[in-house]
């Protein structure tokens, strides 16, 4: 009799444990399904966003629109056959020395500096250069500071 009661108890316990295990497994699977579905919908939203961006990009890059914009904003028109080189040999050599087409009228010879004039260390106030415009800068280019 005792043996019978023990087996019943063990059977019930096994059934309960199996039920709990089954419930646990099903819940785990369901939770995974939920996560998978969330990931799927997130990917779907991203895909949809990409589709929208692609459509917008290709809409804005319609050839007719680009052609109009290139002409109106950049004064660029479609290339012709003359712009296409027949091969690498037809390309101009970028390393050909750029020689003048004629002899210059006179040759400028720079005067050698007569002497090096030592200067004292500038003070903080003197190091701040006064504001000059670009033309002024060009005018003074090549002239020694302080020279007449």
């Amino acid at each position: 009799m005792k043996l019978l009661r023990l087996s019943v108890f063990l059977g019930v316990a096994a059934a309960v444990l199996s039920g709990v295990a089954l419930f646990w497994t099903s819940q785990a699977v369901r939770q995974d399904e939920v996560r998978l579905r969330a990931l799927y919908y997130a990917a779907l939203r991203e895909t949809q966003s990409i589709r929208v961006l692609q459509a917008e990009w290709d809409y804005l890059n319609r050839p007719a629109r680009l052609e109009t914009l290139a002409w109106e904003s950049l004064a660029m028109s479609a290339p012709t056959a003359g712009y296409v080189a027949a091969g690498v040999a037809a390309l101009p050599d970028p390393f050909v020395p750029m020689l003048p087409t004629r002899k210059p009228a006179f040759v400028y010879v720079a005067k050698q500096a007569s002497a090096v004039v030592p200067v004292s260390a500038p003070t903080a106030a003197e190091t701040i250069a006064p504001e000059r415009d670009f033309q002024d800068l060009l005018d003074h280019l090549g002239r020694t500071e302080g020279a007449p």
Partner: protein
């Protein structure tokens, strides 16, 4: 202690079979109680599972059926994209909200209809009112709303209104290639073009469909075709750019066109595909075929002369030239000045059966094989009489689609094997680069004939009726075509089909460019002429000039000379002006 239990004196000890039955009943009651307790526990656990555990996920997923697997609950994929050969979108599907109503929840239909009319610009009050009072629990009010429209409807705040997410077909290139790409209905079913012929594949949504079209070349062709049509007040037109090596259609235009987003608002002439569905008597471009037939069947016949001194009288029919030369013409001269008389005599020399067999081999007697359903069947004389042999030699009395004509001419110019045009880009094993795999093994003319035809086509552009198609830098060849269209009692001289089919570079033809105008009228600039050489050839020249540089085709070396010069011995020059080129 003995009498602690108050009813102890009433307790009876049962022995024997009665005791055994009681114990059994007790055991059964316990078992039944345990069973019910377990059942209630299970039900309670399931309720907690459904309402608490899964309910949270249900709300989060927007009402997905409880217990449904991912495969069961996900929405079907949107309709697949259609792209050009460079991956530029031609058609895509985007999510849009569609508005519906539950009429049972509408309390004041008149007020709600008025509010909807304010929110949605394209609906009418009467229509909305009628829909709001229908029976049932689901009635569509408006499909595919914009975000701004959806916001305006949400502001109404009616619980009877609801949104359902749908996909709307969007064509980012607009009216660039609607006759080829096609369009769908509001439910996403393909109704025309590629959308229709590949409806099942696109509806599955798994694979992007790549077309052979190049939107850049398509734009160039459409721009020049529509400009020519407007300049010469044509009622319509068609154009195509075909890769002769692969059979791929780089551009295919039918004009006028329409916005594929709103095909219902387009008129029937705009919806009609003139390139593949329309069949026309295309006139002198057919001289490519009759001349090739002559050269292929009678070798060394370039110097053969045909009497074009007077119109040809055959029964009650008179075959005359547009600008009569009134002299004997060699084969290159017949082709160059586009003499109908000469072409008719060439057809006669070939013979009816041979000419018919040749046209049949070129695919001119059966509908073009293309991946869209809008393909027109050619109109062939039945029965075919001898006069039909003469007229078919210069493109009258037989009507084919422009695409058929271009494919047949490309077969001859491309080297002599049949070219089959196609719209779907091949991938994997079908990739044709660099081998010309799209060329079939069906030979229609010999390589020698193909070379002679290239020279003749170049001669037409260099010295003949197609001078306006010439492009500096490229050796262009081609053939003009001008055909009077059938009218009551014969042909109308006022309604012309003017066309030009060009090929380049002519020493190794790679591309065929064709433009046709339906019903053009001459202008001051064209000296009143509306022939193919004046209205279509310049447009083809502009297309070649633009697409040649775009596709990186190197210009010809001027030192190589013109391939048509070898035919100079067959071309008679009159005075200083040379041969008068007519059509």
């Amino acid at each position: 202690m003995k009498n602690a239990f108050p009813f102890a004196r009433h307790v009876m000890k049962l022995v024997g079979s009665r005791r055994s039955a009681l114990e059994r009943a007790h055991g059964r009651l316990v078992l039944l109680g345990a069973f019910f307790a377990l059942a209630f526990i299970l039900i309670a656990a399931r309720l907690v599972d459904l309402t608490v555990i899964q309910g949270d996920a249900f709300r989060r997923d927007g009402g997905v059926e409880i217990g449904a697997t991912l495969a069961e609950s996900v929405d079907p994929l949107p309709r697949a994209n259609i792209v050009d050969r460079n991956g530029v979108l031609l058609a895509t599907s985007l999510e849009t909200p569609s508005l519906f109503v539950d009429p049972a929840l509408v309390r004041d239909p008149a007020a709600l209809a008025a509010a909807l009319v304010r929110a949605l610009p394209d609906v009418s009050y009467g229509d909305m009112l009628q829909r709001l009072q229908r029976k049932g629990r689901f009635v569509w009010l408006s499909r595919n709303l914009t975000p701004a429209e959806q916001y305006a409807v949400l502001e109404i705040g009616s619980p009877a209104l609801g949104f359902k997410t749908e996909y709307r077909r969007i064509y980012p290139q607009g009216d660039l290639a609607p006759h080829i790409v096609g369009y769908t209905d509001v439910d996403g079913r393909g109704l025309a073009g590629v959308e229709r012929s590949f409806d099942n594949l696109l509806a599955a949504g798994e694979k992007t469909l790549e077309l052979t079209l190049d939107v850049r070349v398509q734009h160039i062709l459409r721009r020049e075709l529509s400009a020519a049509a407007r300049t010469f007040s044509a009622t319509g037109g068609a154009g195509v750019v075909l890769d002769i090596e692969t059979g791929e259609l780089l551009a295919a235009v039918s004009w006028p066109d329409f916005d594929p987003h709103f095909p219902g608002t387009a008129d029937r002439t705009a919806l009609f595909n003139r390139l593949t569905l329309g069949v026309y008597e295309l006139g002198s471009t057919f001289k490519i075929f009759s001349t090739a037939a002559l050269l292929d069947t009678q070798r060394g016949s370039l110097g053969r002369q045909f009497d074009a001194r007077a119109p040809l009288q055959v029964g009650r029919f008179t075959i005359a030239d547009y600008h009569p030369e009134k002299r004997m013409l060699t084969v290159p001269e017949v082709f160059m000045v586009s003499s109908n008389i000469g072409a008719a005599l060439m057809g006669e020399a070939v013979g009816t059966e041979r000419l018919k067999a040749f046209y049949s081999d070129l695919g001119l007697f059966s509908p073009a094989r293309l991946e869209i359903g809008e393909v027109g069947a050619p109109l062939i004389p039945s029965p075919w009489r001898d006069i039909n042999t003469l007229t078919a030699s210069y493109g009258h009395g037989i009507a084919v689609s422009p695409l058929q004509m271009v494919a047949a001419a490309s077969s001859i110019v491309g080297g002599g094997t049949l070219v089959r045009p196609r719209l779907i880009l091949g991938r994997g094993a079908e990739v044709c680069d660099p081998a010309p795999c799209a060329k079939t093994a069906v030979r229609v003319v010999s390589p020698e004939t193909a070379h002679r035809m290239r020279q003749l086509l170049r001669l037409v552009v260099a010295q003949g009726t197609g001078k306006h198609a010439d492009v500096p830098g490229y050796m262009v060849g081609g053939k003009t075509g001008t055909a009077e269209q059938p009218a009551a009692g014969g042909y109308s001289r006022r309604h012309l089909i003017s066309s030009f089919v060009g090929f380049f570079p002519m020493d190794a033809p790679r591309y065929a460019v064709f433009i046709m105008l339906d019903g053009p009228h001459g202008t001051k600039e064209s000296f009143g002429y509306a022939t193919g050489g004046w209205v279509a050839a310049p447009a083809v020249g502009k297309v070649i000039a633009a697409m040649g540089a775009l596709l990186g085709i190197a210009p010809e070396n001027p030192a190589r000379g013109d391939m048509a010069e070898s035919l100079s011995q067959y071309v008679h020059v009159e005075g200083e002006s040379g041969v008068h080129a007519s059509e």
